[in-house]
């Protein structure tokens, strides 16, 4: 569903802002400037309405009923799956598994795919810029199976150390997990090239796309990874819904994850036969309205065009960085050549928490802290950062408000 790219000059940000009811509210008596989109995005009316419409008009359990409501709900749920398939340029709809979110997707792959393939002494490779969610399930598997977690170092600018990348894979490597875009540094990793390198060693690849899918067009077929995942709530959909893409030839080669209703062909007390395809991994009544609303959210961004959103956010990024540079004592954490979505920084010795508190008083919402990347914070020798993160509805005027609020915070705290 790729729309024709229009120029970013035709990007009607004010029109899009009107789609997001929350953007007109005030915080602490000030106009809300929401720049914590890396944590979660706000929701457009179209997504909110889709949830209300589902419950008001065709709420029913799916894949079970012969009655009309169940047919309608099932059709909408499966239509959402095809919307995700198209959005990710996946070859088949059944490669799309609905999960609770990125964390759930990682845990699913760790349990259903990797656990039984891992022998003592085997290695899992990750990078030094992973979110805790893309560390802990692998770390736990390593502890359980006597395997080794290998971590690719990152450079001072926040990029993967290419020398380390070239050396890390070996016949011992059984799996590679890597973020597409760092939630703390904004670094865009060359996942297509990394996947090709891992494949040279017959290593399957898992890509965490939580911070990529909201900001750029993603093509899993081109990346050629075995697994790709993202969270709905970071791309204008509700919380509690996420996606795991699994390449078709791997899909039926995985164990069940959670088991229960909807996952089976036949059950006897002696033996159960499971279905194939994504339903095998969607035990119990799924988050039906979440999946449907995710479909609406993806329709929404595709109507604007991912290339247009990327170009608009690129503009904001460049503008914000040029303005932030003027603040005395600022130190950017993450200065990679390719960045998207987030700008992380510290100012002098001021604690990020203090800056966040004073910004909040002025209606400006940012994230402060370690961003669930403590190993990365240790790498840079800081307790945390202030993180500004963008969405399709942010404006340069909001960046100006951020800068004014930040200047005030720095003045008060210095």
């Amino acid at each position: 569903m790729k729309t024709e790219a229009t120029t970013v000059e035709n990007y009607d940000v004010q029109k899009y802002r009107h789609d997001f009811p929350i953007l007109s509210r005030e915080v602490n008596g000030k106009r809300l400037v929401y720049l914590d989109n890396g944590a979660t995005t706000q929701k457009p009316r179209q997504v909110i309405d889709s949830i209300v419409h589902y419950y008001a008009h065709y709420n029913a359990n799916i894949h079970r009923g012969v009655h009309s409501l169940s047919q309608e709900a099932s059709a909408a749920y499966e239509a959402a799956r095809r919307t995700v398939q198209t959005h990710l340029s996946a070859a088949h709809a059944e490669e799309i598994i609905f999960t609770r979110g990125t964390t759930d997707s990682v845990n699913l792959v760790a349990a259903a795919y990797l656990r039984d393939r891992l022998q003592p002494g085997d290695e899992i490779v990750i990078t030094g810029m992973e979110h805790h969610s893309n560390i802990l399930p692998w770390q736990m598997l390593c502890e359980e199976r006597g395997a080794v977690l290998r971590v690719i170092d990152i450079t001072d600018s926040g990029e993967l150390d290419q020398a380390a990348v070239q050396k890390v894979f070996s016949p011992k490597t059984k799996f590679f997990a890597c973020t597409h875009v760092s939630n703390t540094l904004g670094t865009i990793n060359a996942v297509k090239e990394l996947t090709a390198l891992a494949h040279d060693y017959n290593v399957p690849v898992f890509v965490d796309g939580a911070q990529a899918v909201p900001h750029m067009a993603v093509d899993v077929t081109e990346i050629n990874c075995e697994f790709y995942c993202f969270s709905g709530h970071k791309v204008y959909a509700p919380t509690g819904i996420g996606v795991l893409y699994v390449k078709k030839d791997v899909l039926d080669d995985m164990h069940t994850y959670q088991v229960g209703g909807g996952t089976i062909k036949t059950v006897t007390f002696e033996k159960t036969e499971y279905v194939s395809g994504p339903l095998k991994y969607e035990a119990g009544t799924p988050n039906i309205e979440g999946a449907i609303a995710l479909g609406f959210a993806l329709d929404y961004v595709n109507a604007i065009g991912m290339e247009n959103i990327a170009a608009h956010e690129r503009d904001l990024f460049v503008y914000a960085k040029s303005k932030l540079k003027e603040i005395a004592g600022i130190r950017f954490i993450g200065e990679a050549k390719d960045q998207a979505g987030v700008i992380s920084f510290v100012v002098g010795k001021i604690h990020p928490f203090d800056i966040g508190t004073i910004l909040d008083q002025q209606g400006v919402a940012v994230r402060t802290g370690h961003h669930c990347t403590q190993p990365l914070m240790n790498r840079f020798g800081i307790p945390g950062t202030v993180r500004v993160s963008f969405a399709l509805y942010n404006t340069k005027e909001e960046i100006d408000l951020l800068i004014a609020a930040l200047n005030k915070a720095v003045k008060m705290l210095s």
Binding site: N28, H351, P352, D354
Partner: protein, 139 residues
């Protein structure tokens, strides 16, 4: 002054501030002027972990009264810590346990004591009360 009187005094002080920034500047200045806790007291067992800012608390008993010394790596948290120390330090364990601590709400900083704020302040108040009880029980 007893605890209630100190709380009232603080509420009066904050009553002078009409703007949020005056109030926060005052808290920041309190944080800056709070005596720095000697590094030797900043040990792991005295650390109260918030998700974002860290607070260290050192408690001692003198002549039946409990004295608190505290510090934080974030200056706003440290200012709030200073207020807590001012209110609770130098009283008996019983007085500390019964302290209403309404002043935080009255000066409009209640959300800083919320468990979702994760600045360690709520945990610190709990720890102050626990320390007071434990020290008094030992002696």
């Amino acid at each position: 002054m007893n605890i209630a009187e100190i709380e009232n005094e603080i509420v009066e002080e904050f009553g002078m501030f009409e703007q949020w920034d005056d109030k926060y500047q005052y808290i920041i200045d309190l944080g800056k002027s709070l005596e720095v806790l000697d590094e030797k007291y900043k040990t792991e067992d005295r650390l109260i972990k918030g998700c974002q800012s860290r607070v260290w608390l050192f408690t001692e008993l003198k002549d039946g009264k409990v004295y608190f010394h505290a510090d934080s790596d974030a200056i706003i948290t440290k200012g709030l810590v200073a207020l807590m120390v001012r209110v609770l330090s130098g009283h008996t364990a019983k007085e500390i346990m019964e302290a209403p601590l309404n002043f935080i709400e009255q000066i409009g900083l209640k959300d800083h004591l919320s468990p979702t704020r994760s600045n360690g302040l709520l945990s610190m108040v709990k720890q102050m009360k626990l320390d007071a009880l434990a020290l008094t029980a030992k002696n």
